[in-house]
Structures are given as C-alpha cells and as structure tokens.
C-alpha cells in the first residue's frame, strides 16, 4: 500500500473524487447505450443510432427526458422515506469506487505532484466495498416499502433476500483471494497478482462462483426476479418516476460496474496489462493502465449483457435453492481445498505443476463420465390417453388409429385385417 494514501493534499483528493464521480456517471451513460446496442444486435435489431455518433448520446437524452417528466407522489407512499430511498441507494454505489485502483502512481499533468490513480486505500478495502454495497440494499427495500404498493413491496423484499443470499457466496469466494494475496487492500492484491499470476487461473472455482454471485447480487438477468416484468411490473421502483427513478437506475448500473471492477481487481490482475501487451516497455506505467482496467471491466459488462441477451429468467425457488444449497457448500469446500493446497505449496511439499496434473486428470475424468451412456431402465410408458374414445363419437383422424385401453393399437373398425 502506497504511503501516499491518507497523506495527500486537499486539492488532489477533491480532484480525484470528482474524477471518480464523473467517470462513473459517464460510464453509466455509456453502459446503458452499450447494453441497448449489444442486446439489439443479439436480437437482430439495430438499437439506438440516431442521437450522436452511433447513437452514443441516446442515454444522455433519456436522462434529460426523465428530468422533464412529471414527478408523481403516490397516495399511499410514506412522506419522508419515499424521498430518502433513492438517495440511500445512490450514495453507496458511488462510495464503493473509492478503493478501486485505476492504475499506478502517476504525475498529475502540469504539476509535479505524484499520486496513485486510486482515491484511497485501506487495509480492509475489500471488506469496505462489501460493507458499503450492502447499504445499497436499504435503499431498495425502503423504496419498495415506502411506495405503499403491492408490487413495490414484493419487489423490495425479494431484492433484499436475493442480495443477501448471494452476498454470502460472494464473500466466501473472495476468501481464497485473500489467502493468496495475504492482504485485503486492493492495491496490494493487484501487486500480488503481478508477482504471481492472475488469480483467476489458480483460483478458477472461486472466480466462477464470484461471477455467478455477482449477477445475483446486482439483480441482473437471468437473476432479475425483483423486477420480473411479467409478475411485478418493475419491482421496487414501480411507483417511482422522474429523477428519482433515474437515481435508482443509475445506482443499478453503477453496482453492475462495481462488481465488474472488483472482479477485475481480484481475479484479472487489476490495471496490469494482459500478457502480451505487458511485454512492451511502459505498458504498466503512466496513464496506459487505465485503458487495460477499463477494458477488462467492460469485458465483464459485456458478459452481463450477453447473459441478459441469451438466458431466460429463473424461478424464485430454483434461484434461492441454487444459492443456498449449491454455491455456499461448494465455496466452503473449495476454501478447505485452497487452505490445504496453499499450505503444502508454502512448505514446498507440493509442486504447483502436480496440482495442474491432478486438476487435468479430474477434468478429463469428468469429461469421460459425461460420455458414458446412462443406463436407463426402460420406463413403463403409460398408455396414451385416447382422445377419440375408440372412434366414438368422433372418428379417428386420417392416418391415426384409435388406441385400445391396453396400449396396443387396434385395427379401425370396418377395415379388414391383413
């Protein structure tokens, strides 16, 4: 962790905080456009392409439109909480980005001041991210409750139950990263991945569990049950309109980028250039790492959109069952494996290549098992119900034979048997 964190000049802090804010707002506007374009391509449509180059200004226009819409205050809404809820949802969404590292230490242009491209860092940075993003749940559940409407209430409690369920799996999947990095500070985790390799490779199961949990955590398809349009209209923000709705929307998209950035930092080497580019001198210095960081984050955002474009929504009981009965035991078991494995590697009792060999054998064995044909006992098929009741009162369709109650086809009456 750099010495500079917590010892910087006021103007540097304010400048960086403003930059983080602006980057997040612009990134959100971009992501809304990006999602609409990509989903449109996946569905053989064109998507927004009128305002600005490639329609890039579409989400800005939508934001202005929302500001000019009438604000509706529902009859049954709580007078105070209804207004506070969007604020509670928005602030933590921004706060999580205080500890996300964008790049290494750089000099601010036109000055001699050196500063890390990260607002701040602390020994418990990842814990801090988990803590502030959990506060966002309050905004959602309070917004749903304060609207005084059935759909909002159901959407709000569903959303909170879903977020806390998947937060457990998410928190457990990060334990393995802390074991490997020996720190919870985001900048040190990035540094640890520079010495070692990207943690996504040795900790692949953690990475997969994290990716599933992050989709559940952000209420995105296929886990978007809180806003299931078919049953709950819009979920917790059904009764919200105008800029308050825009705030909820902003918070949702920032959360999506936050978990993507956290995935980048924890598993994909953070702002470090990917292999190949990292061989070039200076790829990990100056302002270039911002590009790698945003690129990797955008990769996850694309994954989110891809999932939305291809998967149908889960049922709520399936979803909860998957979280509690599959993800949590799986991540606990994986933590135990990682503990033993890491200890053996540290004590030099185990060669990392041996682990790769064992993992390879396991994968091949799994694949082979997949190809073994399942031995099935032939199911006793129930006799097909005879819709025509043996040819009476409706004669069978052409080419069809009436079915006898025993299941054996009977010759249609009036025809000679061959």
């Amino acid at each position: 962790m750099s010495e500079l964190f917590g010892n910087e000049a006021w103007w540097v802090i304010i400048l960086k905080a403003l930059l983080v804010f602006v980057v997040l707002v612009v990134f959100t506007l971009f992501n809304i456009w990006f999602e609409r374009r990509v989903v449109a391509r996946m569905q053989h449509r064109v998507g927004p392409n009128v305002w600005g180059p490639f329609g890039l200004l579409q989400s800005l226009a939508d934001g202005v439109k929302l500001a000019l819409k009438e604000e509706i205050f529902p009859k049954h809404a709580h007078k105070v909480v209804y207004f506070i809820a969007p604020v509670i949802a928005t602030i933590p969404a921004f706060l999580a980005w205080a500890v996300i590292p964008f790049g290494p230490e750089v000099t601010i242009p036109f000055t001699d001041t050196v500063t890390p491209l990260q607002l701040t860092d602390m020994p418990v940075a990842v814990l801090y991210i988990l803590a502030v993003t959990s506060i966002g749940v309050y905004g959602i559940v309070l917004g749903g409750w304060a609207s005084g409407s059935t759909y909002s209430l159901l959407g709000g409690v569903r959303s909170s139950a879903q977020m806390i369920s998947y937060e457990v799996a998410m928190g457990l999947s990060l334990v393995a990263v802390f074991i490997y990095a020996g720190s919870m500070s985001t900048s040190e985790i990035v540094a640890a991945q520079a010495e070692d390799t990207w943690f996504a490779l040795p900790l692949l199961p953690s990475f997969i569990i994290y990716m599933i949990a992050m989709v559940g955590e952000t209420n995105r398809a296929p886990f978007d049950l809180p806003e299931a349009e078919g049953e709950l209209v819009g979920g917790f923000h059904t009764e919200y309109s105008s800029l308050k709705f825009a705030l909820f929307f902003l918070a949702e998209y920032i959360n999506m980028v936050t978990v993507s950035a956290l995935a980048t930092t924890m598993f994909l080497g953070g702002w470090r250039a990917p292999w190949g580019i990292s061989q070039i001198d200076g790829a990990n210095e100056g302002y270039w790492p911002v590009l790698w960081f945003l690129g990797k984050t955008l990769l996850f955002v694309f994954l989110f959109i891809w999932l939305r474009g291809s998967l149908p929504r889960l049922r709520y009981d399936q979803f909860m069952k998957f979280g509690w009965k599959v993800l949590i035991p799986a991540s606990l078991a994986w933590i135990v494996v990682v503990c033993v494995m890491r200890r053996l590697i540290i004590d030099d009792d185990l060669d990392p290549t041996k682990i790769l060999v064992v993992a390879g054998v396991l994968v091949v064995a799994l694949l082979v098992v997949q190809f073994i044909p399942e031995r099935r006992t032939p199911a006793v098929e129930a006799p097909e119900p005879d819709a025509f009741a043996g040819g009476f009162p409706v004669p069978p369709m052409p080419g069809k034979q009436p079915v006898a109650p025993s299941g054996a086809p009977v010759a249609p009456s009036g025809e000679k048997e061959a």
Partner: protein, 119 residues
C-alpha cells in the same frame, strides 16, 4: 487526515448530486393532477387499499435474513484468518476447519428442517 477522508469527500459529492436530483425534480417536471395517477399501480384494476398483507412480508424472508447473519459472521471470522494465512501454519488450518465444521452442523440442521426450502 486518514485513509477515510477521501471516502467522505466522495460521499459529499455523490450525496449532493443525489439530493439535488431529488429536490430539482418537482421544479423541472410539469404538474398535472389526476386522481388515477396517484393511486398505486396495479395494472389497471382497482388498487387494493394497502400493500399486500398490510405492508407485512412473509416470514420466509426473515428466516433468510437470519441465515444470512449466521453465514456473514462466519465470513467475518474467515477474512482475518485468510489474510494472516502464511503466519498461522497448520494450526490455523485445523482451527478453521473445526470452526467451519461447527457452522456446517447448523447449516445441515437448517437444511434438514426445511429452512432452505422455498415454496
């Protein structure tokens, strides 16, 4: 000045933005009163006088919240262990395995009693 001051600065900026947006909305938008508009939205049918169950929620959600606390506390104990993993040696691993096993007993109990069923 500590590491946490920048967090407060960012909170002030985003808070100002959010509060400003909430306050400015009634001024920028039109106001056209309509009795049907302020009713709760229930797809066009006559809205119920209050939210489902009078604003109460099914007990399943409370059980989920309590389960969450159990596991979240477990995670909180796992994090310091994970950070100091290199120092703790085999002793730490055995201790942590015992702890995970203890929590797992509660987990199996809840599972067997149907606490994880959702219908």
């Amino acid at each position: 000045m500590t590491e946490y001051t920048p967090v407060l600065v960012l909170a002030a900026i985003s808070g100002a933005f959010a509060v400003f947006s909430v306050l400015i909305a009634p001024l920028t938008g039109p106001k056209r009163y309509n009795r049907a508009k302020v009713d709760s939205y229930e797809c066009g049918i006559e809205p119920t006088p209050q939210a489902a169950g009078g604003g109460r929620v099914p007990v399943k959600y409370f059980i989920t919240a309590m389960l969450f606390i159990v596991f979240d506390v477990e995670i909180i104990f796992l994090y310091p262990f994970a950070v100091e993993f290199d120092l703790l040696g085999w002793f730490g691993i055995v201790e942590m395995l015992l702890f995970i096993a203890t929590v797992f007993v509660a987990y199996v109990y809840v599972w067997r009693r149907g606490g994880l069923e959702w219908d």
